[in-house]
Amino acid sequence: MTEEEEWSEEQQSFSYRQRLKAAVHYTVGCLCEEVSSDKDMQFSKQTIAAISEVTFGQCENFAKDLEMFARHAKRSTVNTEDVKLLARRSHSLLKYITEKNEDIAQLNLERKAKKKKKLEDENRNSVELAEAGVEESEN
């Protein structure tokens, strides 16, 4: 029974991987079509298949590395720092990622600021209302 379960699990994981690979393949195909329409250059199917395989393998590597980096920093969650460490090889990628990171950080700050403002406003409103209510009651 356990063997069957294991085998079925394996089958499931295998089919899962296949689906993932298919998804990657599809995405790579779309991207290559865009590039070919841009540069006026054709992509053969083998090329797209090769690129998708490589991408899939690299994704596996990235995932393992990210997990290792997170563990190295004694965290249990993968962080943007880990991602930056991963991307340090290519300068352009690192730059892009750091910029995006900064944008996201800014967004977060802005959101936090907005939330704070809202809270403060609400507080003020409630206070004013309370005061108004008190005044009215007094009156």
Partner: protein, 575 residues
């Protein structure tokens, strides 16, 4: 007979063996030979009777040893023929021929040796064949005992006496013979002669001193070569030194471009190319005035030493000396002790290197078996060495003065001592013009000379952070690579390999730095290394770092790196 060897304070193996051999006297070889030697038997008998009579320790020892030496020689002669060789006879020969320098006074053996020779010329010649080494070609004995140039057995005894005489007189004549012995291994008996020479050299203080002094002496010969090249002494170069001296040391030290600037550039290049501490050899270079005084005599002797190889040796030394000399004034122009120490180190290092080269050349000479010419050269070289050692001792006495001078931060005192050496080297090429033209000439000559000479020695480790020690390591790995390639490699290929290794190691270290920063640390820890290896796939869930350490590193590192190993059986779980 065993009683004669009255118990020594230290029963050495030699004495034990002797006792064994003496007590169990062999039957055949002695008796077979004893028929021939009437006179020898008489001699043997009288010492043996003396032996039996003697009571006191010292006299017994002496007589027994002197008698034993005669006995030994006789036995050696007796058991000379190869056909009768047994382990016993070999041991006997070993004991007989190996003199006991610790116990026996040299004169005693020497006295005895000549006397039997006179008595037994015939016997020796008869049985000289097997034990005769390639002695006729040995000329050094002529310097010691010209009268004792008898062939065969005489030579064996001669050598013993000559060794002791030579040791007393401090000659190195033994060494060529040693090499002759080592080379002429025609029979196993020859081995026995090869062996005693070494313990002799160890026990004799005169000889034991030889190898260490050679190092020192080579630098002395450098200095002498320096003096040779200096025809006249003049202090004109000081004027051009001042601008160099005023260059701030920071820029000079930070200059990592070799040979980019004429003088200021050379000073750091040579400065940085000079290696780590060996202050002994280099201090000698510092004192200029002392050097001037020691100019002609030994230098001339060095130059006129001998044909061929010693000249080559000296030529090489002269080259290196010039390189050193060129370096010295530049370095001395740098203020402070930093200049002095690398200078010293550089001299020591280069002295050692050149000494190694010269030693290798000498060894090649010896191995080449050019006995006549080579051995004639070697003793000359050794005599030069001996005299140079004498002069060197005086130089060293004056060196501290020179070095203290150089450590003076002011530029001019340094310049004055340093420039004459520098100019001395230049004298070879151009007789001294007026100072300004010489200043113009010198910078242009300097780059060529230094560039010609220092790149051949890129391995001198120095204070330069990147270039020299780094390249030294890369050189090592590139050579390993070419070794494992099992094919000859082009120089360009080796360079490419070095470049790739360079980038690889750079990348590796950057990764380590980043990993450490990632964990919020400033120091690289083994965890970072483990992460690196994990990324490379060397460390997996099955194979841990400790397993790799055990597999690939030597045992000592295992104790350092693996906590279980160095914790001494007290291991606690991490919390």
């Amino acid at each position: 007979m065993a009683d004669n060897f009255s118990p020594d304070s230290e029963p050495t193996t030699r004495t034990l063996l002797r006792r064994v051999l003496d007590t169990a006297d062999p039957r055949t070889p002695r008796r077979a030979r004893s028929t021939r030697s009437g006179a020898q038997r008489d001699l043997l008998e009288t010492p043996s009777t003396r032996r039996q009579r003697s009571q006191t320790k010292m006299t017994a020892r002496r007589r027994s040893h002197t008698a034993a030496s005669v006995d030994r020689l006789a036995r050696v002669q007796a058991s000379g023929h190869l056909e009768e060789q047994t382990p016993r006879t070999l041991l006997k020969n070993i004991i007989l021929t190996a003199p006991e320098s610790s116990i026996v006074k040299p004169e005693a053996v020497v006295k005895l040796v000549p006397s039997p020779q006179v008595v037994q010329p015939s016997r020796r010649e008869s049985s000289r064949g097997s034990l005769e080494l390639q002695l006729p070609e040995l000329e050094p004995p002529t310097t010691l005992a010209p009268g004792l140039l008898a062939p065969g057995r005489r030579k064996q005894r001669l050598r013993l006496s000559e060794f002791q005489q030579g040791m007393d007189w401090g000659h190195l004549s033994q060494e060529p013979r040693e090499n002759a012995d080592a080379s002429s291994l025609t029979s196993s008996l020859n081995l026995t002669f090869a062996m005693p020479l070494q313990p002799q050299s160890v026990k004799r203080p005169g000889l034991a001193r030889r190898p260490p002094t050679r190092r020192v002496v080579d630098v002395g010969t450098f200095l002498q070569d320096l003096r040779d090249t200096s025809l006249a002494v003049a202090p004109p170069g000081e004027s051009h030194r001042t601008p160099v001296a005023t260059v701030p040391t920071d820029t000079v030290l930070e200059d990592t471009q070799p040979f980019s600037q004429p003088l200021a550039g050379h000073s750091p290049s040579v400065h940085h190319s000079l290696p780590c501490p060996s202050p002994s050899g280099a201090k000698e270079v510092e004192g200029p005035a002392s050097r001037r005084t020691w100019s002609s005599g030994p230098g001339l002797q060095n130059n006129h030493s001998g044909p061929g190889k010693p000249a080559q040796l000296l030529a090489r030394k002269v080259e290196e000396v010039e390189a050193l000399a060129v370096g010295f004034p530049n370095i001395s122009s740098i203020s402070g002790e930093d200049g002095v120490e690398p200078l010293q180190n550089g001299v020591g290092e280069e002295a050692e290197e050149s000494m190694e080269k010269s030693m290798s050349v000498r060894e090649v000479e010896k191995a080449a078996e050019e006995q006549g010419s080579a051995r004639a050269e070697e003793p000359e070289g050794h005599t030069e060495v001996a005299e140079a050692a004498g002069s060197l001792g005086a130089i060293e006495a004056k060196e501290p003065e020179g070095s203290s001078e150089d450590e003076d931060p002011s530029a001019s005192p340094k310049l004055a001592p340093s420039t004459p050496e520098f100019l001395r080297t230049r004298r070879l090429q151009s007789p001294e013009p007026a100072p300004p033209p010489s200043t113009a000439v010198l910078p242009s000559e300097l780059p060529k000379r230094l560039s010609a000479r220092i790149p051949p020695r890129p391995r001198i480790p120095g204070s330069r952070p990147r270039q020299d020690p780094y390249k030294a390591g890369l050189n090592h790995y590139a050579k390993l690579f070419s070794f494992y390639a099992k094919m000859p490699m082009e120089k360009k290929a080796v360079e490419m390999v070095e470049k790739c290794l360079d980038k690889y190691f750079q990348h590796l270290c950057d990764d380590l730095e980043v990993f450490a920063a990632h964990a919020g640390r400033k120091t690289v820890s083994p965890e970072d290394l483990e992460l690196l290896l994990r990324r490379q796939g060397l460390v997996t869930d099955q194979v841990s770092l400790h397993v790799l350490v055990e597999r690939h590193l030597p045992l000592e590192y295992r104790q350092l790196l693996i906590p279980c190993a160095f914790s001494g059986n007290s291991v606690f779980p991490t919390q």
